[in-house]
């Protein structure tokens, strides 16, 4: 906007939306922070005294805290790894002219439209179940012992399920990025003597860097708070093997009715998310600059 007056008018116009959004965000956050300093357990009636950092201390010293933190990071990194690499490969594949391209593309996008709870249940019961699941059946066909995914590799199984859900998103964004690559650049590289592999690493991959950054940033935001998939498959177990921070907060506050402790966990999760975000922006944020 050009002039002082139009700029001021512009600010005025967008202020209701901004204020609403700000309140929408700040009120729950403020309440969470406030609760996190209270002794507030629904099973212990009475007043809720301010107890300072007691809740945080409990949360940090909870034997489940560090495993949950590590599980969260492993989950995020694992899914990111699978979806970006798999997404690039799938995008390359879908970019090739082939028979039934339209249908194949729709099929690839499909998992994104399935609700997390549903897809996790489908995976749990129809694929990974050692008795009824497809993988178990395949194993017995080849004369192997069926593998009980969710019991023996719970975190890995959840990574697999979540990655399956997010792969279409990554593929779609990377595919559009790939299609926006100027074909003359590839032809120039071909004339310059670059084979398919060199063309991929020297021309395509740098071109995809920006889209991949967007994929990683957006996915990280959602992956830090994975919950439904864990709830319907492993319930965070066995033990705490598949408990992430979100799930830990849930089990603290809802299963144990301790609002104060759960709030403290929530605040810690927010701080962790911010640390991860800053870290990511430092690492790959420069890709977004023009």
């Amino acid at each position: 906007m050009a002039t002082q007056a139009s700029r001021a008018a512009g600010r005025l116009m967008i202020s209701p939306a901004v204020i609403l959004l700000f309140l929408w965000m700040i009120v729950p956050l403020g309440m969470t922070i406030y609760f996190s300093f209270l002794r507030y357990n629904l099973l212990i009636p009475g007043d809720n005294p301010l107890v300072g950092f007691e809740n945080y201390q409990f949360f940090f010293t909870d034997p489940n805290f560090w495993p949950a933190l590590i599980n969260t990071l492993v989950l995020v990194l694992g899914v990111l790894l699978i979806t970006t690499i798999g997404g690039i490969l799938l995008a390359l594949l879908l970019d090739q002219p082939m028979f039934g391209q339209g249908i194949v593309r729709v099929l690839v996008i499909a998992p994104f439209f399935v609700m997390p709870t549903v897809s996790a249940l489908v995976w749990k019961n129809m694929f990974m179940n050692p008795v009824n699941g497809l993988f178990g059946w395949l194993a017995t066909v080849f004369g192997l012992q069926p593998f009980d995914f969710l019991a023996q590799a719970p975190l890995f199984s959840i990574i697999l399920i979540v990655a399956w859900q997010w792969l279409p998103f990554a593929t779609l964004i990377l595919l559009t990025a790939l299609q926006s690559l100027d074909s003359e650049q590839l032809e120039a590289a071909e004339m310059d003597g670059a084979g398919p592999v060199s063309r991929f690493f020297h021309i395509m991959l740098p071109h995809l860097a920006r889209a991949a950054t967007v994929v990683i940033l957006i996915q990280t935001i959602f992956l830090l708070s994975i919950f439904a998939e864990i709830l319907v498959t492993t319930n965070g177990g066995p033990g705490n093997a598949s408990t992430n921070l979100t799930y830990l907060v849930y089990s603290q506050s809802l299963l144990q009715y301790d609002v104060g402790l759960g709030s403290a966990g929530g605040v810690i999760a927010v701080i962790l998310a911010n640390i991860v975000a800053i870290f990511l922006m430092r690492m790959i944020g420069k890709n977004l600059e023009t």
Partner: protein
Amino acid sequence: MGQIELKGVTKRFGDAEVIPPLDLQINDGEFVVFVGPSGCGKSTLLRLIAGLEDVSGGEIQIDGRNATAERPAQRGLAMVFQSYALYPHMSVRKNIAFPLKMAKMSQREIDAKVDNAAKVLNLSSYLDRRPGQLSGGQRQRVAIGRAIVRSPKAFLFDEPLSNLDAALRVNMRLEISELHNTLKTTMIYVTHDQVEAMTMADKIVVLQAGRIEQVGSPLDLYRHPKNRFVAGFIGSPKMNFIGGAEAAKYDAHEIGIRPEHIDVGTTGAWQGRVTVSEHLGSDTYLHVQTDYGIINVRADGEVALHHGDTVWLTPNAACIHRFDQSGNTL
């Protein structure tokens, strides 16, 4: 060496035959320009030579060796694209070095060659910039630099100057001509631009609908066009065509006379009225309404004629081109 020969080369896209069987001989060191109306297959022909498109039939020979099945890189040709096709994420230095790196040359050799090319093309102070931080002319020079470091057998240019403004185009035109004089490498150049074709070419190839209408030196085409199409295509402003009784006087189906071969006076063969006069300073272009239609005349810059003036036109009889029924020159 950079001798290229096309023998019966054809190209089909699906059912559409874009290039019917075509023969063309390009000698070593020649500057060959492909011209023709839009969509006539100039780019396609260039891409066939480059190896970016497969031929549907026929044979492409480079230095006497059958190169039809060779990949683009193996043919030893370099191409400069209309959009420059620079690699946006690499510095100018890396862009120019890319073909050398792909050829697995040593870093010392690469540096020497890149510095040399940068000096030739006046790019030395931009080597560390990205293509996005360069002007159009500089980008064009980087694209040329990337082509010359490989010491190719021939350069292929596809309308390399069409994205530049008029002044820069003149400059780059001279630079490319100069480059050709120093390198003495075969160059094949596709353009829409009359002036580029006439000034740069050793040999012009006029194409229409994938067919070669005529091959020859610029002046040859200007003076002795083989047919009506070439006559109308080469030369600017375009040749005037007159049919009917006036043509019959010259024993032809149709006659053609270039605007610069018509004299304007107070008496003459054809009477007409000026509809538009364009004063360019050095020349005046007159559009004259006559009994035979609008005739364009290129007159002296001093001519002070305006809309509505009556003039008499006299064609220079020696410069009249005569065409038969099917458009061939008599």
